[in-house]
Symmetry: C2
């Protein structure tokens, strides 16, 4: 007797009901991407470890899933290395490939590898699973989909604007109320410069980031701990407590950061973006948030984050501009900007708020009850006509008890059932039963098509 | 200076132009699956090795990509096993997971694992990559997509019929001329029985399978070599040389196999399927082919294979009925039938015959030339209106030289370019240039929408 089989922890099967909902999200997002000229790209699940290692920090290297070399992988390993029992060092000898950890590094690899064939600016979206050997826990998986959209090869701020438009349009279509937070790495650098600690950019940002959660006093305590002097902390206070509209904040920052060319450049960039947005009808609130940092070491300009307003769930979309995406693979001066939609979290938000539409095209629309061989032969051509009219049609595969056949329709969520027996065959009619109301009517095939098309 | 990055051999990047074509194939196939009540399923890329091992034969076990356990994978390995240098045995100690090798075993695993939640007959399709550590060569990859459709939990021959209908509809929509070959494992068993060699079913089938290629004499020689006696070979001749329509062949077989209940059952099954098909308008030729065997050890009833008529490429779709799909995981009596569409080969056929449609929605439909900051601000709201009308719209991100902007439109295959400068802004018009004809006209936005919607 075989054991009930299972799947590796942290992975999931997506059953049909889940798939239909996930596809709804992905299809919506893709349709918006296309409206802005972004095109699909897919890269292999496996990348050479030389492509992946060192790109996600030491911790990231450990979280890569590594693939054992095929064949006699031990043949080339010297005996002393075997006995050394150094798993990390041995990995290099017995594994050359790993599963992709995100979509950004494979994208950068693709751009560098195919630079001569691509048209720049190159706009691509990519929706594929990634794998991380993280400890699985609620909401954290070892296999999950990322949904990235990026443009590379242009530093035009029009791209920041169109990404904001795309966020606005995606969440309008999904009926999720969101707020888009925006910041600029150059402003953060300007702040660090202005208070006299350009080297402490990360510490300062991490502390500022906690403002909402722990309050000003605790933030200041943390800054002191990190070696920021009192004068600097003093100078930081008006920035931490900046109030008002985006433009008011930027105006005040203009004064505060007046001696930092980098900071002023950041202000100018954001001002330009806000100006463009003014002429457009954006339903989403776009809010300057100086505490927004996200992957600071990576971004060089705009930083984005999107929060759902009606559910406590953290960020559901994020991204920013990076001036050196492809530098890791030797291609310099390739500025890009992009965002990533968090499919799992968007799914959870929509589930919680009951936002998934009743998709009557996702399942079968009409089930023919099976009364036996003669009726089967009569029904098959009718079913073919329904399908030609675009209606998802099934027949129960055997003349089982009515209860069983109805139960199948019910469990599969099929809205209509056709009963075609002796009488209906003689009258050239269909008895069409509405499973929701229980209502039944004798009609022609053409009439059935009309009802089902609604 | 970093080295130009590459991808593991046998894997591929799917660039946007390829993706658009692949999506066209998959979308067509999916839309047909849905018409017949099949729903999407996805399973994890990684399965436990205990799920995968032993399911594909000894050779298959070797071709599985195995994932190195995370962390200090050597910690639990005894020293003597390390020094033994037995790569296969060590694999069991340092790897617990593998990449899926096909979609059938994960599907069987899913059905058994979730049997209590599923509604049977369970109809699912699954389109996902699989991985095999095969030696890469022309047309053979280490990562490739499979596109499977199966129904499990019913032995009704109506499913054989609907699979044939689906094949017919898919290839009608893709404009590929095909022939569908059909056979039945029970007939092959009946033949082996009738000629007195029920134990040599595989040898006989393998030999018969070569009939077309090597001719009758060579087939007979091979049979002799395999230990089939002369009387049996004599008896086989009328079967090998069966001529006529499907029904004529089945009628003659009925006589030949009269003493084999299994053989007669197979004939009855095929007759039933052909009878159903007669009442339906199927454009595809469905041909009984007794030499068709495909994965014989696996199928128990119908066997299908689809060949493209206008290209030499082998089978582009295949499948059959298996009565014991889930037995390997302890769930008995779960009959199923399914087929698999070969995405790579279908792609090659369509490419070769130039069957991919001009998809004017796949790329940007209109590019706004960038004349500078003032024009950008004027154009952005116009672009928003075009997108609201469902038109894929871009603006070149910076006021580059006209030649460069036109080159971008050209390379990306964008059919229309909008020129909106000082004059057009004053007149509230758009100069719309058709990139194919070179024709240019001054029109309103509404008129542009009409042209682009065509």
């Amino acid at each position: 007797m075989a054991q009930t089989p299972s799947i590796p922890k942290g992975t999931r099967d997506y059953s049909p009901d889940i798939m239909v909902k996930r596809n709804y999200i992905f299809d919506t997002i893709k349709s918006v991407f296309k409206l802005y000229g972004y095109q699909p790209l897919e890269t292999p699940a496996m990348e050479n470890l030389s492509t992946l290692m060192g790109k996600y920090g030491e911790e990231g290297d450990k979280l890569l899933f590594k693939i054992l070399n095929s064949g006699d992988f031990l043949a080339q390993v010297p005996e002393n290395e075997l006995l050394e029992r150094n798993s990390i060092r041995l990995t290099n000898k017995i594994s050359e490939k790993g599963l992709r950890y995100d979509l950004t590094v494979p994208f950068a690899r693709f751009v560098v590898q195919h630079q001569s064939e691509l048209t720049f600016p190159f706009k691509r979206y990519q929706i594929q699973p990634v794998w991380r050997a993280d400890r699985p826990q609620k909401g954290r998986y070892r296999e999950f989909y990322q949904c990235d959209v990026d443009v590379v090869g242009s530093d035009s701020l029009l791209h920041e604007v169109e990404l904001i438009q795309m966020v606005d349009e995606v969440y309008r279509r999904l009926h999720i109320n969101v707020r888009l937070l925006i910041n600029n790495r150059k402003i953060l650098a300007g702040i660090a410069e202005t208070i006299g600690h350009p080297d402490k950019l990360t510490d300062i940002t991490v502390a500022i980031d906690k403002m909402d959660k722990i309050g000003g006093d605790a933030v200041n305590a943390e800054l002191r701990e990190k070696g920021i002097d009192e004068t600097a902390i003093e100078k930081l206070q008006p920035i931490l407590n900046l109030q008002g509209s985006n433009n008011e904040k930027l105006e005040r920052l203009q004064g505060i950061l007046q001696n930092s060319p980098t900071g002023l450049k950041g202000i100018e960039e954001l001002t330009t973006v806000f100006n463009y947005l003014e002429g457009l009808s954006i339903g989403t609130e776009v809010k300057l948030d100086l505490t927004l940092a996200r992957g600071l070491s990576y971004y060089t300009g705009a930083i984005f984050e999107v929060k759902a307003l009606d559910v406590q769930i953290g960020s559901i979309t994020g991204g920013g501009r990076y001036d050196d995406l492809t530098g890791i693979f030797g291609l310099k001066n390739m500025s890009g900007v992009g965002i990533s939609f968090g499919a799992d979290r968007i799914f959870d938000v929509m589930q919680q708020l009951n936002l998934f539409p009743e998709d009557n095209k996702a399942t079968t629309q009409i089930l023919f009850v099976n009364f036996g061989a003669k009726e089967e032969r009569y029904c098959l051509p009718l079913m073919q006509q329904l399908r030609a009219a675009g209606i998802n049609t099934e027949i129960y595969p055997e003349p089982a008890k009515m209860k069983k056949q109805m139960g199948y329709a019910d469990k599969k969520g099929i809205p209509f059932v056709a009963l075609v027996g002796e009488t209906e065959m003689q009258e050239n009619k269909i008895a069409l039963k509405n499973m929701a109301t229980g209502e039944q009517q004798n009609i022609t095939l053409a009439q059935a098509v009309e009802i089902l098309k609604k």
